[in-house]
């Protein structure tokens, strides 16, 4: 059975999207799968990765007209007969949550969280979430002005973390440093800025996928070995931390999570207590790493949605290393012409 899967987030740039990793995992799954890239810009590298993405289309921005977004998907669907869409970008998830019933009516399946699940994992509601799943949350305050910042640092003390609404986090040791980071992050990403109590420890991530009924279809934990300036994992090692795995399963059960996710936590050095930092409501950019270790979550998600048998185990080896690297492709300007003029790539071999 040939399955056609459309995937977004194929921007494999310095702040990489998960799309290319998802397509690679699908291609290596053994399924007969056609991958369709949904891009927002003609220079998203995934468009040019012919070995893992069969064809790409330019999409209208999700922040624009809902109707235009739906029409574009219907247009692509009329030519590709899409079975499944895997949304891999935070910014487009709200529109997909809105239009999922429309897509279902035309035969396109998705495994994404509900609006209530999405709301519960909001960065500003971490305490509530932490209580629900039996872990801790670092104390934090949300700031939209310098007065808020001064109040927050007085309350939380130094050192503290100054974090952006989407990316970037800095450790501030003084009021001057905190103000500097506050201005820098606000200029780049806007408000609110979150000031968080500093906890001495290491950051860990768990990737997983929930079936929407409180069950996970596989989880995989890593320690971040190096991260980029934007806080993205660059190198990582797989770990077996049962306490962390159990906490992740409580997230899936407690929220009846539906879809891919990334559970970001910190383990305090002194106590080894788990502090939840964030839950991202989609697969992370390192989604290929677990697939390479036998936990192919994109494939399992597609199999679940298309009524096929799928694995749910989380049996993987610790001590596997992920090394991310940069690479260059040499393409012809006509490839760029094709996607920027017609909004889609040529068929392979054309």
């Amino acid at each position: 059975m040939k399955i056609t899967v459309a995937v977004s987030g194929i921007n494999t740039i310095d702040n990489p999207g998960p799309g290319a990793g998802i397509c690679r995992a699908l291609k290596e799954s053994g399924m007969d799968v056609r991958t369709i890239g949904l891009a927002y810009d003609a220079l998203e590298p995934g468009i040019y990765l012919d070995h893992i993405i069969d064809k790409s289309y330019i999409m209208p921005y999700p922040s624009g007209s809902r109707e235009a977004f739906i029409e574009r998907i219907k247009d692509i669907h009329s030519r590709e007969s899409i079975d499944v869409i895997i949304s891999a970008l935070d910014a487009e998830l709200p529109i997909y949550m809105d239009i999922e019933p429309v897509l279902k009516d035309i035969g396109i399946k998705m495994l994404i969280p509900s609006k209530e699940m999405f709301r519960l994992r909001d960065k500003l509601r971490l305490k509530e979430l932490a209580e629900k799943i039996g872990v801790k949350a670092p104390e934090y305050m949300s700031c939209t002005s310098l007065a808020d910042l001064h109040n927050a640092v007085n309350e939380l003390g130094f050192p503290c973390m100054v974090k952006g609404p989407f990316y970037e986090a800095y450790k501030a040791n003084s009021p001057g440093e905190a103000e500097g980071y506050f201005g820098k992050i606000a200029a780049a990403w806007g408000y609110p800025i979150i000031v968080q109590k500093f906890i001495q420890g290491d950051e860990y991530d768990v990737i997983g996928c929930g079936d929407g009924n409180g069950n996970d279809i596989g989880v995989f934990a890593i320690r971040k070995m190096t991260i980029t300036k934007l806080g993205k994992v660059w190198n990582a090692v797989s770990i077996r931390n049962e306490k962390l795995i159990e906490a992740t399963k409580r997230v899936v059960k407690g929220l009846s999570w539906r879809g891919g996710f990334e559970f970001e936590v910190l383990l305090e050095d002194k106590t080894q207590e788990i502090y939840v930092l964030e839950i991202n409501p989609r697969f992370p950019a390192w989604v290929y790493f677990p697939a390479g270790c036998g936990i192919n979550l994109p494939a399992r998600m597609v199999q679940l949605l298309t009524g096929q048998d799928y694995d749910t185990h989380s049996d993987y080896k610790s001590g596997k290393l992920m090394i991310r690297y940069t690479n260059e492709l040499v393409k012809d300007i006509s490839d760029f012409e094709q996607i920027s003029t017609f909004g889609e790539t040529s068929e392979k071999g054309e």
Binding site: D202, S238, G319
Partner: protein
């Protein structure tokens, strides 16, 4: 001493130690590696001291200090 933790530590012949629970890795010298192997084999510090005294040209005090320091380091890094 956390014997369960000790049991899961991956220790190679080169002295490379990988903690699969935290993902941290460390390097031990030949003496440290020997002590760690003996701890993993369930030996108590007194038994380890006897083994090291047989193998190394050191005094009992020197060996005791080495063993205690190494065990303290393992505790510091939550490896035992």
């Amino acid at each position: 001493m956390d014997k369960d933790k000790l049991a899961v530590l991956a220790v190679s012949e080169s002295g490379f130690i990988f903690d699969p629970v935290t993902g941290h890795s460390y390097t031990a010298n030949a003496t440290g590696l020997k002590i760690l192997e003996l701890l993993k084999a369930g030996k108590e510090p007194d038994e380890i001291r006897s083994v090291l005294l047989d193998e190394y040209d050191s005094t009992e005090d020197e060996v005791s200090v080495d063993i205690n320091d190494f065990i303290e380091n393992l505790k510091k890094y939550f490896l035992i």
